[in-house]
C-alpha cells in the first residue's frame, strides 16, 4: 500500500519535471534509441517512442560503419496504415519499436552502426531525419546509444520487459539465432533484476525525495555554515578542495540520517504491529495532520533559535578545514536542520519501519540525505558563487509535502473508519489541493502552459473531490466509483446480478450438493474486501452470455468476510486461503479440478475456462 503511494509520489515528481521542459521534445528524446546483440548474426535496434509521437516505417535507414560487417534487410514491425495524399500509403509506428537486423561479420572486431529515423508528434510537428550512432564492442556489449539506459528500464518496467521477452522469442524464430539457452539465461538475468528492483526503486525514490526536500527553506541555514567553512580555508581555496569539503559535509549529514534509518528498520516489526491498533493509527494520523499544517505555514517547526545558535557556535569552534571536522559539522547540521524537515522525515521513517528492513532503511535515508545535499555540493563546487534564490516556488514544494502528509494521514486511518468517512476526507483533501492549485482563480491572459497545466490539475482535483463528496452524500460504497449510485447503473446492475444462494458452512454445502439433482454446481467465495470478487460480480457475472451459460447451474456463494471458523473450514476444504475462488462441481457432485478460477477473469476467458471444464 505504502509502495503504491511512493509510486504515486514518484510519478507526480516525474510529471512535474516533465511539465517543466518545453512541450515539444527533441527528436532524440522523443524517440529514444537503444540496441542489443541478440546473437552473433542478429542485432536489435529499439526505439522507445514517447506517447503522442510516432515514427514513419518507411523512413528508417541503417548503415554499417565498418567494412567487415554487412547488414541484411531490417525486420521492421508493421505500423498503423494511413493514406497521405502526397506520399500515398504510409505506416506509423508508436510506443516501442523493435527492429531486428541480420548481420554478417568477418571478424569479431568492434563495429558501429548508424540508425536513421524520422517521425512526428501528434500535435502537428515533424522532425528532420535523425541519425544516431550505435557502437558494438567485440564482446557483444553495446556502447553509446542507451546501453545503461536500457538497463535502468529493465528495472523500472518489469511488465513491459516480460512481454518483450515473449515477443523477442517469437520474432527471432526465423533468424538463425543461438540456441534456447541464450534466451533462458536472459530470463534468469531479468529475474534477478526483479528481485532487486524494489530495493533500488525505493532507494531511487528516496533520493528524489531528498532533492525535493533540498528545495525547502530548511537547507538554507546549511549554506552559510558550509560557505563559512570553505571561506575559512583561506581566500585562494581551490575548487577541488572546496568540493571535497562539501562532500565531507554532506556525507556527515547523510550518515546521521542513515543511522536514523537503520534504527527505524530495526524497530520495524514492532512498529508495524502497533500500527494495527486504531488508536495508534489515529494518533499517527493526527501527527501527520499537524506536520502537514506546518508545511502549509500555519506555524514554524524548528528548534528554538537560542538552541540553534548555540549549536552553530559550537560547531564553529571545531577544527575548521579538516575533513573529520567538516564531517562532524555535517552531523551537527543534520541535527540543527532535522526538525525543519521532521515532517517528511517522520513519514519516511514510518515507511521504513513498516518494511522492517534496516539495510533498506539505512540506504534509503542515506541517499535521501545525499539528495538533500545536492544544492550544497553545487555551492561547494562553485565555491559559493551559486546561491539558490529564495522564492515563492519553495513554498509550493512545502505545500506539496503538506498534501502528501495529509494523504498519508488518510491512508493510515482508512482501514478503521467507514467508507463514507474515507470518501469525505479524500473529497476535502482534493478540493483543498484544488484551491492551492488555484482551480477557481481566473488565469491571466498571457500565462505559460505550465501555469495552465497546474490549473488543469487543480480543476481535475476539484472535480474528483466534488464527485467524491457527492458520492459520500449519496451513499456510494466504492471510492473509485463515487457516482455509480447517481448514474442509475447501480440499479441496473442489481437486476443483472446472478442469483447466488448463500451457504454458511461445509454441512450447508454438502446438503446443497446432495439436492442439486444432477445439475452442475458452482461455488463462489466472496468477501466485501475482495476486489476481484467485485470485479467478477460487476463485469463477468453481469455479462449476458455468461449468465446464459450458468442459467442451468446451481449457484452457491460463500460470504467469508467475517472469516469465522465455519468460513475457514469451507476455504480449507478447497485448499484456499481466502477469496477469490470459484469451484465447479460436476453432475455427480464431485469437484471438477480442471476448473480452478482464482482471481478475476474477464467474460471471454471465464467462458473458455468453463467450456474446457465441461467438455
Amino acid at each position: 500500500m505504502m509502495t503504491r503511494w511512493l509510486i504515486i509520489v514518484v510519478f507526480l515528481c516525474a510529471s512535474a519535471a516533465r511539465a517543466a521542459v518545453p512541450e515539444i521534445l527533441d527528436a532524440a528524446l522523443a524517440f529514444k534509441l537503444s540496441a542489443k546483440v541478440v546473437s552473433d548474426s542478429v542485432v536489435e535496434i529499439i526505439y522507445d517512442i514517447e506517447p503522442g509521437y510516432y515514427l514513419y516505417r518507411e523512413k528508417f535507414a541503417f548503415a554499417s560503419g565498418s567494412a567487415n560487417v554487412k547488414l541484411g534487410d531490417a525486420k521492421i514491425p508493421n505500423g498503423k496504415v494511413k493514406h497521405d495524399e502526397f506520399f500515398g500509403r504510409i505506416e506509423m509506428l508508436r510506443d516501442k519499436v523493435r527492429i531486428l537486423i541480420p548481420i554478417t561479420r568477418g571478424s569479431a572486431e568492434p563495429w558501429n552502426l548508424s540508425a536513421t529515423s524520422q517521425g512526428c508528434a501528434d500535435v502537428g510537428v515533424c522532425f528532420p531525419p535523425n541519425t544516431e550512432q550505435v557502437e558494438f564492442k567485440s564482446d557483444g556489449a553495446v556502447v553509446g546509444a542507451g546501453g545503461g539506459w536500457l538497463a535502468a528500464l529493465d528495472a523500472a518496467a518489469p511488465a513491459a520487459e516480460t512481454d518483450f521477452l515473449t515477443a523477442e522469442t517469437k520474432s527471432i524464430e526465423k533468424v538463425p539465432a543461438r540456441n534456447e539457452s541464450a534466451n533462458l539465461s536472459e530470463t534468469d538475468r531479468i529475474a534477478t533484476i526483479f528481485e532487486t528492483k524494489n530495493f533500488w526503486a525505493i532507494v531511487a525514490a528516496f533520493f528524489g525525495f531528498g532533492v525535493l526536500l533540498s528545495f525547502t527553506p530548511c537547507v538554507l541555514p546549511m549554506i552559510p555554515i558550509l560557505s563559512g567553512l570553505i571561506v575559512g580555508e583561506g581566500a585562494n581555496v581551490g575548487k577541488g578542495r572546496a568540493f571535497s569539503l562539501s562532500v565531507a559535509y554532506v556525507l556527515g549529514m547523510a550518515i546521521t540520517y542513515a543511522i536514523a534509518g537503520v534504527i527505524a528498520g530495526l524497530s520495524g516489526s514492532m512498529l508495524s504491529t502497533a500500527l494495527q491498533n486504531p488508536w495508534v493509527l489515529g494518533v499517527f494520523a493526527m501527527v501527520f495532520v499537524l506536520l502537514a499544517l506546518s508545511m502549509f505555514g500555519m506555524y514554524e517547526l524548528q528548534l528554538p533559535a537560542s538552541a540553534q545558535s548555540a549549536m552553530s557556535a559550537k560547531s564553529n569552534r571545531l577544527p575548521g578545514g579538516k575533513f573529520v571536522g567538516v564531517t562532524l559539522m555535517g552531523i551537527l547540521s543534520a541535527v540543527i536542520v532535522g526538525p525543519c524537515v521532521a515532517a517528511p522525515l517522520a513519514a519516511a521513517l514510518g515507511y521504513i519501519g513498516k518494511e522492517g528492513n534496516f539495510v533498506l532503511g539505512g540506504a534509503a535515508l542515506f541517499v535521501m540525505a545525499l539528495g538533500m545535499g545536492v544544492p550544497l555540493l553545487l555551492v561547494g563546487a562553485s565555491a559559493g558563487v551559486i546561491l539558490p534564490r529564495v522564492g515563492a516556488w519553495m513554498e509550493s514544494v512545502k505545500q506539496f509535502f503538506g498534501v502528501l502528509l495529509l494523504t498519508v494521514a488518510i491512508w493510515l486511518i482508512t482501514p478503521v473508519i467507514p467508507t463514507w468517512a474515507v470518501m469525505l476526507l479524500w473529497a476535502f483533501l482534493l478540493i483543498g489541493a484544488a484551491m492551492f492549485l488555484r482551480a477557481l482563480d481566473p488565469l491571466p491572459d498571457h500565462v505559460n502552459g505550465y501555469r495552465r497545466l497546474w490549473k488543469g490539475v487543480g480543476v481535475a482535483s476539484l472535480v474528483a473531490g466534488i464527485a467524491l463528496l457527492l458520492g459520500a452524500l449519496s451513499g456510494a460504497k466504492d471510492p473509485l466509483q463515487p457516482l455509480a449510485g447517481l448514474s442509475g447503473g447501480g440499479q441496473k446492475h442489481a437486476e443483472n446480478a446472478l442469483a447466488f444462494q448463500r451457504i454458511k458452512s461445509v454441512e450447508d454445502l454438502d446438503q446443497r450438493l446432495a439436492s442439486a439433482n444432477g445439475k452442475y454446481v458452482m461455488l463462489d467465495f466472496y468477501a466485501d474486501w475482495c476486489i476481484s470478487c467485485k470485479e467478477m460480480e460487476r463485469f463477468t457475472f453481469a455479462d449476458s452470455t455468461v449468465q446464459a451459460q450458468l442459467k442451468d447451474m446451481v449457484l452457491l456463494q460463500a460470504d467469508v468476510t467475517a472469516n469465522s471458523e465455519a468460513d475457514k473450514a469451507l476455504l480449507k476444504r478447497f485448499g484456499l486461503v481466502g477469496p477469490p475462488g470459484i469451484i465447479l462441481f460436476g453432475r455427480n457432485g464431485v469437484e471438477i479440478k480442471s476448473f480452478h478460477v482464482i482471481g478475476y477473469l474477464p467474460s471471454e476467458k471465464f467462458l473458455a475456462t468453463l467450456a474446457r471444464a465441461l467438455s
Binding site: 518545453p22 512541450e23 515539444i24 521534445l25 527533441d26 527528436a27 514513419y56 523512413k59 497521405d84 502526397f86 506520399f87 524520422q118 512526428c120 508528434a121 500535435v123 502537428g124 510537428v125 515533424c126 522532425f127 528532420p128 531525419p129 502552459g449 495552465r452 497545466l453 490549473k455 488543469g456 480543476v459 481535475a460 476539484l462 472535480v463 466534488i466 464527485a467 457527492l470 449519496s474 457516482l483 447517481l486 448514474s487
Partner: protein, 184 residues
C-alpha cells in the same frame, strides 16, 4: 425528490467534467504552438542569412527587408507542413500588394520540393536549407528542430513571433494585419 437531487448532481458533475476536458484541450492546443518569440536573432543577422533557391541562385533574406516576412521552415516529408501551405499560398495572393511575402525555407532535397511546389502552385520564394539548417534554426529559436516552424518578421527585421507547429488562417491574419498597416 431524490431523483431531482441526483439529476442536479449529475448535471453539475457533467458540466465540471466537460469544463475540465475543455480546459485541458485548450491547454494542449496552445501548448503545442509557442507564440512567444523565442529567437534572439538580430535584424542584421537575419538579413545576412542566405540560401540557394530552386534555380540554384543564392538568395539573401535581406532581399525582403522593408516587407513583412513570414519565414516558414518546412519539408515535403512533413505532413503538418503540407497542410498549411495552401493557406500561405492564399494569403500571399491576398496581401502581396500590401508588402507581405512568405518565404518557404525547405529542409529537404531539391527534387521533391520542385515537384511539390509545382503541384501546390506555391507562389512565393522557396529556398533550400538542405536537410539541416545547422545553427540558423537554433538561432531562430527552433530548439527542438521540429517542423513546421514559422517566424513572423516585421518591416524592420524584428522577429515578432515564432511558432512551432501548424498555423491557421485566422492566426496569420491576426498577426499580419497590424504589421502590414504599419508602413514605416
Amino acid at each position: 425528490m431524490t431523483k431531482i437531487r441526483d439529476l442536479i448532481a449529475l448535471a453539475i458533475a457533467i458540466m465540471l467534467g466537460a469544463g475540465s476536458v475543455y480546459l485541458g484541450l485548450n491547454w494542449y492546443k496552445e501548448g503545442a504552438q509557442q507564440s512567444e518569440p523565442a529567437s534572439t536573432l538580430s535584424p542584421g543577422a537575419l538579413y545576412t542569412a542566405s540560401f540557394p533557391d530552386l534555380e540554384g541562385k543564392t538568395r539573401s533574406l535581406g532581399e525582403w527587408q522593408g516587407k513583412v516576412m513570414v519565414l516558414n521552415l518546412w519539408a515535403t516529408w512533413c505532413g503538418p507542413c503540407r497542410e498549411e501551405i495552401p493557406i500561405m499560398v492564399k494569403l500571399q495572393q491576398k496581401y502581396r500588394d500590401q508588402g507581405l511575402t512568405f518565404v518557404g525555407l525547405a529542409l529537404d532535397d531539391k527534387a521533391p520540393v520542385v515537384k511539390f511546389a509545382n503541384e501546390m502552385g506555391m507562389n512565393y520564394p522557396i529556398l533550400l536549407g538542405d536537410s539541416d539548417l545547422g545553427d540558423f534554426g537554433q538561432r531562430l529559436g527552433n530548439v527542438s528542430r521540429g517542423l513546421p516552424y514559422t517566424v513572423i518578421v516585421d518591416r524592420s527585421g524584428k522577429i515578432v513571433t515564432t511558432r512551432l507547429g501548424g498555423v491557421d488562417e485566422k492566426f496569420l491574419e491576426q498577426m499580419l494585419q497590424p504589421l502590414l498597416q504599419n508602413k514605416s
